[in-house]
């Protein structure tokens, strides 16, 4: 237990700000997961590995002298095609099967990606420097790295873009139709196969954006994907499928929760506390559902 946060209340402001900025970034990854989970009924364990791969794209741009911020444009374009590739190779074979098979398949993809990235890029921890500097608030007692603010702003832009695209575009409507009822959509002339491929591609593209942002704000490493998968899974579970504003709020909530857990329980319990919260929420949901079932009886 560390009570410093109560002795120095300014830390609470710091923790909340950090948490919200972080949470927005998590929410972007979770958006992708919610989308393809909702449409294809697939829980993608490789989500975090797609994020890291996106990060490497930005990192390599940085290595070749291009500012890594351009990664938020280049990385999703490349990742979109990576996503389509994965869909064509693996996901289309498991998309109509039960959830367990898709979890196993994406788990396999995740391991493969980790090893391939390790093989191709090496096991070194890398990062891309944006040189964005720092914003100081409240008489220099709260510091916000501009890279984190940049990450949050870009995430919001992409999230809003996605929502608008889903509402207005033809493909977006086809995706929503397929999510509601794949069979009916098919009968009415929607090429669901294409919709699935595009959905997975869009998900990978969002991961690409998030990855580029993570390479600017944090560090990347071939084996660092899993915590991002867990967090996005957690956010989607809390928000519920198809609830996009819910994803944003639960993302930020998770970010703040993590930061406070870090301050109060200690850094070592940070990711542990996320797991604990996940278990609690699942138990609570089950409890609520069983109550509902009793009413129905």
């Amino acid at each position: 237990m560390d009570l410093l946060i109560f002795q120095a209340p300014i830390l609470m402001v710091q923790a909340s700000m950090d948490g919200i900025l972080l949470g927005i970034l998590f929410a972007l990854i979770a958006y992708g997961m919610a989308l393809q989970w909702g449409v294809m009924n697939i829980i993608n364990i490789a989500q975090g590995d797609l994020v890291i791969l996106g990060g490497y794209i930005a990192y390599f741009m940085y290595l070749y002298g291009i500012h890594p911020a351009w990664g938020v444009i280049v990385s999703p374009i490349i990742m979109y095609f990576v996503g389509i590739g994965i869909y064509k190779l693996v996901i289309n074979k498991v998309v109509d099967r039960d959830l367990f098979i898709s979890i196993l398949a994406t788990f396999g993809i995740s391991i493969l990606f980790m090893q391939l990235m390790n093989f191709a890029f090496g096991a070194d921890v890398v990062l891309a420097n944006s040189g964005y500097g720092t914003t100081m608030l409240f008489d220099n007692s709260v510091v916000l790295p501009n890279s984190k603010i940049f990450a949050a702003v870009i995430s919001i832009i992409f999230a809003i873009g996605l929502v608008v695209y889903m509402k207005k575009s033809k493909l977006g409507r086809a995706i929503r139709a397929t999510a509601q009822n794949a069979r009916a959509a098919k009968i009415l002339g929607v090429d669901t196969e294409k919709v699935y491929a595009a959905t997975f591609g869009i998900n990978a593209a969002l991961c690409g954006v998030a990855g580029a942002l993570i390479s600017i704000t944090f560090t990347i490493h071939p084996y660092m994907g899993l915590p991002y998968t867990i967090r996005s899974f957690m956010i989607v579970i809390v928000a519920g499928l198809g609830n996009l504003p819910g994803v944003a709020i639960s993302g930020m909530g998770l970010g703040v929760f993590e930061e406070f857990a870090d301050y109060i329980l200690g850094t070592e319990f940070r990711i542990g506390s996320v797991f604990l919260l996940l278990v609690l929420i699942l138990v609570y949901r089950r409890f609520k559902l069983s109550k509902k079932r009793e009413y129905l009886k």
Partner: protein, 412 residues
């Protein structure tokens, strides 16, 4: 029927392969002394695993070309069987088992990292196979009473001990306030224990004591606490990830501490990845090329650095240097034992007392090398932004003066 044929061919091929490999890899074949090693060529330790392997190979090549090992009036050459342990302790233990019982290796070199060495040591101990290791510094390796394990490097608890003592000295002998963040692995936790000991002896106080999980790449919370608590020394140890994350976030959050001490700066290529932001960081190192130790195979650190760079195309981190030193120790022990009897070689190893380009080597009863101190270097950049690591402590080896306290971010 066809399938059956395939199976028969397959099985006999495997049997043939196994039988030949068992014959061809005995301990000493013809004029070859065969050593076994499992190093991490894939997985999360692969970059340091490759440094380890390159260090071994460099020494094998050098020793063989300079006359090899003389035992019983005959000259032998070194050869190493490598396996990839995939950075996985379980796999490392299996491979140790395999090297010993299948490949009949009677002498082993260590893997990379304390964790993997810890997994292999019980196996080599069980079979009485002497193992000289160069990359497992965890204190717990040397408290288990292993008789066949020898480490050429200083134990982990001494890594940052020098830093605390230097800080206390600069504070006029009075205790200092320490903030620390350590990853939760065998190695970093031992570094932490070393700091606790040093703090106790010097009357210093530990005001922040964070543990970092291994997946973490965000230290903002720890650093925010540091900003509020204002310690005299900030100590961070979490392999390359910890070093890189710390420097990035210290610069971004403009955290001012008079002294910042870390491990793994070499491997993190700190100044290359962070440039001027890494300036003034103090780093613990097992070895630095400017140290003036000498031996007859590699001459000295500067020559080793140049030769290694020529052979592998990059400057040797200390992980490579210490791996090369392990081979020198083996050669010395074989010649003194004048035998390939495992027991005699083990006793010769235990009696080692030599100087190599890497440092003096003399083993304590636990197997750790007690005659080589750790050095601290400081990242110092010139006005053009070119950064260099300069040895600043202990004073005997210092090539530059320690800059203390670190200038505030607002004044840089």
């Amino acid at each position: 029927m066809k399938i059956k044929n395939y199976i028969v061919t397959f099985v006999s091929a495997i049997a043939l392969l196994l039988s030949t490999s068992a014959i061809s890899f005995a301990k000493v074949v013809g004029d070859k002394i065969i050593l076994g090693a499992a190093v991490s060529l894939t997985g999360k330790y692969s970059s340091n695993g490759v440094h380890t392997q390159n260090g071994y190979n460099m020494a094998v090549e050098r020793i063989n070309s300079m006359g090899g090992v003389k035992v019983g009036g005959k000259t032998y050459k070194f050869d190493i069987i490598y396996y990839d342990d995939e950075s996985n302790p379980k796999r490392a233990a299996q491979l140790a088992e395999r090297l010993i019982s299948q490949d009949k290796v009677e002498f082993m070199l260590g893997p990379y990292s304390s964790g993997l060495t810890k997994a292999m040591a019980p196996v080599t101990e069980k079979y009485g196979v002497p193992m000289v290791e160069a990359n497992g510094a965890s204190r717990s390796l040397f408290t288990k009473g292993y008789k066949y394990l020898f480490a050429v490097l200083a134990p982990a608890n001494l890594y940052l001990d020098v830093a605390i003592r230097t800080a206390v000295e600069l504070n006029g002998g009075k205790g200092v306030k320490i903030a620390q963040a350590f990853e939760q692995d065998a190695f970093s936790q031992d570094v932490r224990l070393g700091i606790l000991d040093a703090a106790k002896e010097t009357g210093s106080e530990i005001i922040i004591d964070d543990k970092l999980p291994k997946e973490l790449n965000d230290m903002a919370a720890t650093l925010a606490k540091v900003k509020v608590a204002k310690p005299d020394v900030l100590v961070v140890s979490g392999h390359t990830k910890g070093a890189l994350t710390a420097i990035r976030q210290i610069a971004e959050m403009k955290v001012d501490v008079p002294m910042l001490a870390m491990t793994h700066c070499d491997a993190a290529k700190l100044s290359k990845q962070h440039g001027k932001n890494s300036q003034y960081a103090l780093c613990a190192s097992q070895w630095h090329k400017t140290l003036t130790y000498k031996d007859k195979w590699f001459k000295d650190g500067m020559t080793y650095d140049a030769d290694f760079t020529k052979m592998f195309g990059y400057a040797p981190p200390y992980q490579a240097a210490e791996s090369s030193a392990a081979l020198l120790v083996f050669k010395d022990a074989f010649e003194r034992a004048n035998s390939f009897d495992q027991k005699k070689v083990r006793d010769a190893l235990a009696a080692t007392d030599m100087q190599t380009f890497y440092g003096n080597i003399k083993f304590a009863p636990g197997g750790q090398n007690v005659s080589k101190p750790m050095v601290l270097f400081q990242v110092i950049c010139d006005s053009s932004g070119k950064c260099e690591n300069k040895v600043v402590a202990p004073l005997k080896w210092a090539s530059a003066k320690l800059i203390h306290p670190i200038p505030k971010w607002s004044e840089r």
